[in-house]
């Protein structure tokens, strides 16, 4: 009762998605800070290596709903199971991936439970709170921290009165960390027929085309990333040239993706992926809070910008004030010259 729960997503290969393992890693720390257990909710069909995958993250209890009809994800049955289980178990905290699935499911469950939910958190902490109006004190709440209002501010959100405290977090924001390779928990099977009705299956999935992830910027050690300042899809080629040469991947800001310069799966930031490469070469990126939230843990940052006062320059190790049309080809040239 009153534990920390993570809704674990099952991906196309029938295994637990990375984002859920990241959340379990964070959930383990939150549970430890609160002296609670960590529980996982898995809804799917014949999930592979379930226990072997989850226990090392410090999972004490796996709640498992296993039914052919539960994969692929469909809102109503998953929401029915999740809400009913939470009504029984009364979690203190629940975390969901801010994915197509999590962002569809979590709000529906929060509404059903009349619970507070914060989307796309970039940080989660435990702390106390005092209501300024009533003077009422609350201990050890979940601080749900996220950029807000177009990234001009960072807001800390709390849910003082309602439980569970719910949050969604994007893939890559939390670090995936094994807690104890020999950790053992228990598995509790959910009686699916008791939790869902036939009427929960009224929406029919007619067709699905899920592509394997082509781009793996999350795992890349070097990222050459472009913002709106790159100007066009053609100009992005300069970034690809350098990335290919030095063994990196190409990333982009939301503005560059919205501008059609490159694919959405390369988007870095609060609404894209979070990366921690050894080297981040930012080209024509002014550096909104949302973008920085996705890359500010890079070990080294080079900012190439014609504007010497671009906000991103403040967190850069090297600032090259100049046009990327000039700088990128020169980097290519000198890399080739010195690697001989």
């Amino acid at each position: 009762m009153r534990n920390v729960f993570v809704y674990c997503e099952v991906n196309e290969d029938g295994v637990i998605a990375d984002v859920s393992l990241e959340l379990l890693s964070k959930g383990r720390k939150l549970a430890a800070a609160l002296g609670l257990k960590l529980e996982a909710l898995v809804i799917g069909s014949d999930v592979k290596e379930l226990e072997k995958t989850l226990y090392p993250y410090g999972v004490d209890v796996i709640h498992y709903a296993n039914d052919k009809r539960l994969f692929p994800f469909s809102t109503l049955p998953h929401a029915a199971i999740t809400a009913k289980l939470f009504e029984q178990e009364k979690p203190e905290i629940v975390l969901f991936g801010a994915t197509s699935v999590g962002r569809d499911l979590a709000p529906r469950v929060a509404s059903k439970l009349t619970a507070g939910l914060t989307a796309d958190c970039t940080s989660l902490e435990i702390g106390d709170h005092e209501d300024v109006k009533t003077g009422k004190k609350y201990e050890r709440l979940l601080y749900q921290i996220r950029p807000a209002f177009g990234g001009n501010i960072i807001a800390t959100i709390v849910n003082p009165e309602t439980r569970p405290q719910m949050a969604t977090v994007r893939e890559g924001v939390m670090k995936k960390e094994i807690f104890d390779a020999d950790y053992k928990g228990i598995i509790k099977n959910i009686d699916v027929t008791e939790f869902v009705n036939d009427t929960d299956f009224i929406c029919e999935i007619i067709d699905r085309h899920i592509e394997a992830q082509k781009v793996n910027i999350k795992g890349a050690q070097i990222i050459v990333s472009g913002g709106y300042g790159v100007g066009s899809r053609e100009n992005f080629k300069l970034l690809y040239d350098l990335a290919e040469l030095i063994g990196g991947e190409v990333g982009a800001t939301r503005a560059a993706v919205d501008g059609g310069f490159t694919e959405h799966e390369r988007q870095i930031g609060q609404t894209g992926v979070t990366v921690r490469p050894k080297l981040y070469i930012a080209c024509g990126i002014s550096g909104s809070v949302q973008h920085r939230a996705g890359m500010d843990q890079s070990s080294k940052i080079i900012s190439i910008n014609t504007d010497k006062d671009a906000p991103l320059n403040a967190i850069a190790d090297y600032v090259i004030v100049g046009s990327l049309h000039e700088v990128l080809p020169k980097m290519v040239k000198y890399y080739k010259q010195h690697s001989k």
Partner: protein, 288 residues
Amino acid sequence: MFKIIVLVKQVPDTRNVGKDAMKADGTVNRAALPAIFNPEDLNALEMAIQMKDRIKDAEITVVSMGPGRAAEIIRESLYRGADKGYLISDMKFAGADTLATSYTLSMALRKLEPYNVVICGRQAIDGDTAQVGPQTAEKLSLPQITYAETLEAIDTESVTVKRRLERGVETVKSPLPCLITVHSSAAPCRPRNAKRTLRFKRALTPSELQASSTDYSAMLESCSYLRIREWSAGDLQAEPQRLGLSGSPTKVKKIENVVLAHKDAKMLTAADADVESVVVELMGEHII
């Protein structure tokens, strides 16, 4: 008649934030941000108009929750293809989080029953939460289809929609009524129609009518289509404790202006010597 309801929101244009968007005390200077039609709500309106094009005997009702000036986007919807508008406005709604907002909208939708489908944008750019659509659906026990990209088929019994997911697409068929949230990759909204713009130019809410220096009341009397209805908390028969700040389980504990911790960056130019020095340094450290 097939009834389509579109939920729309007027939002500050957070995408074009200028330097004066933040006040000296670190709070948001809303006055410096233009108010616009939430972009994905325009995609939603387009999908509604496409439904009307196919079903023919259909009516589009636009509902917006917001302050008085949100009537602007209701009129904009009328110019582009909507038939009717409702403004849900009350000081009691102030400070609503997504749960209180979805409760308020669901009470308005209950008053508009029966309807066949509810459509809204996936998310609003001032919050980017994407929560109000699913939460409104839950409150009304409607099935939901999120991230809709293409309307594949529609009849009076069901709708088939292609959804945009992170790594692919999915086609879903749902019985009606249901709630659909529309993704930015869906068709952009058609522009204003000249005839409609003339027809609805004087569409006004009761508050606007009162505030207007010209007396349009006789005109609105004879042309009822020019009336934008306005509903308050009382009209919705909503429970007061579920509205606005008191109906919001999430509370803002702290707002911080974004302050950058300055690193001591090496400042360089595009000169050959400078670029070469960076490359050599990185190669020396085996980073590249």
